[in-house]
């Protein structure tokens, strides 16, 4: 099986305030349908790695492949397009556009991609919301819903373009145990039912233990 995401010899340096070698020779693969979690102490570089993998951070050395396409040294606009089409994000803080309704938030990435008509996008968005049991919130403004609901909206938004990979930066970090479990179950279901690959940075050991594979990082290296 070909890997969805592959990192080869990734190095990254922080140049300010002093030169600091934050990622040291990172090599790993994520296969299709695999649910991988990255664990490690604060400051070990796991979030930094995630942002390098996300294509948002382009200041690194080494090679990065998504579906066997080399991402390294592609133009920013090209990367924006790849991010839009192939990668979904879920962050610790929900990062919805608070001026927009839930439905509009979910629809935005698809509108940007502009491969479908408005009606199709709206239909898809409602489907995603239904799948996550939050379709009744569709017309509410994003800042009027609870934290757990926001996180599910963020997941719906990550799914709208049917990406090949979902990335999460502590997606349950800010949620209580009930909502954490809820989010985990959704991720698990996506990986098993749709064959979505997931790569999640987390501090939550219970969460990590239930994933297919745990990568542990220490001092900028993957140790297991």
């Amino acid at each position: 099986m070909s890997p969805v995401l592959e990192a080869k010899h990734i190095h990254k340096y922080f140049k300010k305030p002093i030169l600091f070698h934050v990622l040291k020779d990172i090599n790993f693969k994520v296969d299709k349908g695999e649910f991988v979690s990255i664990m490690g102490k604060s400051g070990c570089g796991k979030s930094t790695l995630l942002y390098v993998l996300s294509t948002m951070d382009t200041d690194y050395e080494g090679d990065l492949f998504l579906n066997n396409n080399r991402l390294t040294n592609q133009s920013r606009d090209q990367l924006s397009y790849i991010r839009n089409k192939h990668i979904g994000f879920v962050f610790q803080f929900h990062y919805l556009l608070s001026d927009f309704t839930v439905l509009e938030n979910v629809m935005l990435p698809a509108k940007k991609l502009a491969e479908k008509s408005y009606q199709e996008i709206e239909h898809d968005a409602m489907e995603k919301l239904k799948m996550l049991n939050i379709d009744h919130l569709a017309k509410k403004r994003a800042f009027r819903i609870s934290g757990g609901e926001k996180q599910r909206v963020a997941i719906a938004r990550a799914l709208i373009n049917n990406p090949t990979l979902i990335m999460g930066d502590e997606p349950t970090g800010n949620l209580d145990s009930h909502n954490s479990k809820n989010v985990f179950d959704i991720f698990k279901r996506l990986s098993e039912e749709i064959g979505l690959s997931l790569l999640v940075v987390t501090h939550d050991e219970d969460f990590a233990r239930q994933t297919n594979r745990i990568m542990t990082m220490e001092d900028g290296k993957i140790i297991s």
Partner: protein, 420 residues
């Protein structure tokens, strides 16, 4: 490939959810542009009025025979005194005739010049207005009433009666309003005038003249050239002055020089005659521009400020848009379009407010002795000002939006997401 409908719909949502801020930003533009339009219409209107005050009545070139001393006195040309320093006391002006020699052909010649809008002859003379035993000194000018009305807007200064009436009436006179008051005369009455060399002529009053300058109105009257020639007992070739109006006022100086040289006459151009007036106009225009530019710059800074704040507030939105696949250019366009929408709405409202205020000023009564035909404050509603105002609204919002939106383009989403 830019997805304009999406970008505009995002801008619209931003603008509508922060409606208060949007309104304030737009009002900044509105007031800037509105006051610019009002000010510039009003000030150029006033300037135009003041220009007209002088220029309407003033010929661009005034040709006449000056009474002056000879430039070369006999002592200067006498060979014996050639190498000495001559001091001559009590020089007298040279005796010369007041009439312009060969005036008719000269007028004809000038009228054929393509630079000349019109050249019309006048006959000026001193007379006495006679009221019983009282004699009041004054000036009587013989004119072609219709030409004067056409070229020098004489009708604007005739408060009663008309230039046509003078043209049609034999032995008619348009009397200065000051004299008319002194002598309690009204239209249809007859006034007796006497030229300096004697004789009494009775003229019928067909109108009153008010220039706005009381000293002039107290002495000046007009009649036809023929009438003056008859009063003076001169032939119809007797012309003392020629007034020339040009197509382009800038031609006045060179043409005046040329006439002086060619015909050995005195030719005064309007710029020399009204030098201080020129300076006044320039300075007033300068003030108008300075004030308008200040207003527009202040409006521009207001927009810059508000957009800057807007972008700081929307940092998270920018990060999330970029994370979900919007390019830096998309984000920049989102904020640019907000700025331009604010500029457009504010600009249009500004034009309307400017138009409204200018129209309001146009209705305020303004009565002045100086300009009998003006009843309200003058407004110069030049479409160019509206064009400039609107262009500036768009330009300043573009510039004010460009810098902050450029910043939003460069914002690194990772930094914002990780800062939390």
């Amino acid at each position: 490939m830019t997805n304009w409908p999406l970008i505009l719909s995002i801008s619209k949502t931003h603008l509508l959810t922060k409606i208060k801020q949007t309104v304030i930003a737009s009002l900044g533009v509105t007031f800037g542009i509105g006051s610019y339009i009002t000010l510039v219409c009003f000030m150029t209107g006033l300037n135009g009025m003041l220009d007209d005050l002088i220029l309407n009545q003033t010929p661009h070139i005034h040709i006449y025979n000056e009474i002056e001393p000879s430039e070369q006195q006999p002592a200067d040309v006498f060979d014996a005194f050639k190498n000495s320093f001559n001091v001559i006391h009590s020089i007298k002006p040279k005796l010369s005739q007041k009439k312009i020699h060969n005036a008719r052909p000269l007028v004809k010649y000038l009228n054929e010049d393509p630079r000349v809008l019109g050249a019309i002859p006048q006959v000026k003379t001193q007379i006495f207005y006679i009221a019983g035993s009282i004699e009041i000194g004054g000036n009587l000018t013989g004119i072609h009433p219709l030409d004067e009305a056409r070229l020098f807007r004489m009708s604007d200064y005739i408060v009663d009666g008309s230039a046509e009436a003078l043209h049609q009436t034999d032995n008619g006179i348009i009397l200065g309003i000051g004299i008319a008051k002194k002598m309690s005369l009204k239209i249809g009455d007859r006034v007796q005038v006497s030229p300096i060399n004697g004789g009494i002529f009775s003229l019928k009053i067909v109108g009153f003249y008010q220039s706005g300058i009381a000293d002039v109105d107290a002495i000046q009257s007009f009649t036809t050239i023929k009438t003056v020639q008859r009063i003076l007992g001169q032939t119809n070739s007797y012309i003392t002055d020629i007034n020339v109006k040009l197509h382009d006022i800038e031609e006045a100086i060179p043409l005046a020089r040329k006439i002086e040289q060619q015909f050995n006459l005195k030719a005064i151009d309007v710029k020399t005659a009204n030098a201080q007036f020129e300076t006044g106009t320039t300075i007033r225009n300068l003030i108008t521009y300075a004030v308008s530019i200040t207003l527009l710059i202040v409006a521009g800074f207001g927009i810059y400020n508000i957009l800057n704040m807007l972008i700081y507030e929307k940092m998270n939105d920018i990060a999330i848009l970029k994370a979900t696949g919007f390019s830096g250019k998309d984000v920049q366009l989102i904020f640019m379009s907000q700025a331009m929408i604010i500029g457009f709405i504010g600009g249009i409202l500004g034009l309307l407010i400017g138009y409204g205020l200018a129209s309001l000023i146009d209705t305020i009564p303004f009565e002045t002795e100086a300009l009998p035909t003006i009843t309200t404050y003058p407004i110069n509603m030049n479409p160019l000002f509206f064009l400039i105002g609107f262009s500036f609204a768009m330009l300043s919002t573009f510039l004010a939006g460009y810098l902050p939106s450029k910043k939003s383009k460069k914002i690194d989403p990772v930094q914002i997401i990780r800062r939390q």
